[in-house]
């Protein structure tokens, strides 16, 4: 709960690790696109043929989808549905929950298969959970350090954002 309740902060080192896990999964699963979103719909990292999709919308809709499915699970007394699979005519989407707060999405076509994707996702998910617990540990050790980049934000900074 501590981890779930805190703001997510990611540094270069974790970002690199996550990116390399995604890159390997992308190759191993023969996927078109692999991406990681947090449950609030914010994209964390991605790999693959991203020019053809609207990644931001994809992230938000994925999170909405998972949230709705979580709601369904609770209604029937399940904790969560940890895997969702959508099958299309050409492309398929495999969605899985990682470490309770992240969502791993794999988009693939007939060059791969559901079995292969499930197998590779399991391995990648374990690695991602490792990174997550490292992030959590770091956060608890360092407390709030380093200071938020917004610690000294001024009204002028904020006004500047809206000056168009």
């Amino acid at each position: 709960m501590m981890l779930l309740g805190t703001n997510l902060v990611m540094y270069e080192e974790e970002f690199q690790r996550i990116s390399s896990v995604l890159a390997r999964l992308w190759v191993d699963a023969n996927a078109k696109i692999v991406f990681l979103v947090d449950k609030n719909g914010q994209q964390i990292a991605a790999k693959g043929d991203l020019e053809k999709v609207d990644a931001t919308s994809l992230a938000s809709l994925t999170a909405g989808n998972v949230a709705a499915t979580d709601g369904l699970a609770k209604l029937i007394g399940e904790k969560e549905f940890s895997i969702l699979f959508h099958e299309g005519e050409r492309d398929n989407i495999h969605i899985s929950i990682v470490g309770q707060r992240l969502i791993l999405v794999v988009i693939f076509d007939e060059r791969s298969s559901l079995g292969l994707v499930r197998l590779r996702v399991r391995k990648a998910a374990a690695e991602l959970e490792d990174v997550l617990s490292q992030m959590a540990e770091k956060a608890s050790q360092e407390g709030q350090a380093p200071a938020s980049p917004f610690a000294e934000i001024t009204d002028d900074d904020i006004d500047a954002l809206f000056s168009e």
């Binding site: 902060v9 270069e12 938000s60 949230a67 980049p149 917004f150 500047a160 954002l161």
Partner: protein
């Protein structure tokens, strides 16, 4: 719950438009979408019924530029206002950083406004938030219609903690950016305290 990414120097915040059905939440987003340059916005996604009532949410990613070297992005969401979509409303408040209450100024909608406000308090609480502390702004929409309640009366009934309050006519854009700006400012100020 904001997401600060030091690797890509980005910060993402989530703002939710709340309020009674047909109050103008989606219209707020549509106006923002129309008036923002293409380079600063993503697609406006509406999960709506065939009659254009919000079914699950509307979503608009907005890029506001950089603060202290960090790209600042706001994800704007609306909730479905109709009473029976409460389960969906609850889900959308997950991880919220700031809330805008869009109230309908028409006399006959005051009960619905109060009901939505109560509902917001409950659903925030269930997501681990408190209306008393979360960045929050109030918008009194539809000020151009006849049979509206006076500003003072609405303020008295709906303003819960002295939050910034704006009169608006969402289809024409009056008050739309002012409300967003006020809550964005509160969200960023809130971040600076963390």
């Amino acid at each position: 719950m904001s997401f600060i990414n030091y690797a890509s120097r980005e910060i993402n915040c989530k703002i939710v438009y709340y309020g009674p059905g047909l109050g103008g939440k989606t219209t707020n987003l549509q106006f923002i979408y129309e008036r923002t340059s293409p380079s600063n916005k993503g697609q406006l996604i509406s999960l709506a019924t065939e009659t254009d009532r919000t079914l699950f949410f509307d979503f608009l990613p907005l890029d506001l530029g950089t603060v202290r070297g960090f790209r600042t992005r706001f994800h704007l969401y609306t909730v479905p206002g109709q009473v029976f979509y409460d389960a969906s409303r609850k889900l959308i408040l997950k991880g919220v950083d700031g809330v805008i209450m869009v109230a309908d100024s028409q006399e006959m909608r005051m009960d619905a406004n109060l009901e939505a406000l109560d509902n917001l308090k409950i659903n925030l609480h269930e997501n681990g938030f408190d209306l008393a502390t979360i960045p929050y702004a109030l918008q009194l929409n539809k000020r151009d219609l006849p049979n509206i309640v006076s500003f003072d009366e609405m303020h008295k009934q709906l303003n819960v903690k002295g939050e910034p309050t704006f009169e608006a006519v969402a289809p024409k854009g009056a008050g739309v950016f002012e409300t967003l700006k006020a809550v964005a400012k509160l969200v960023l100020q809130d971040l600076s305290k963390k």
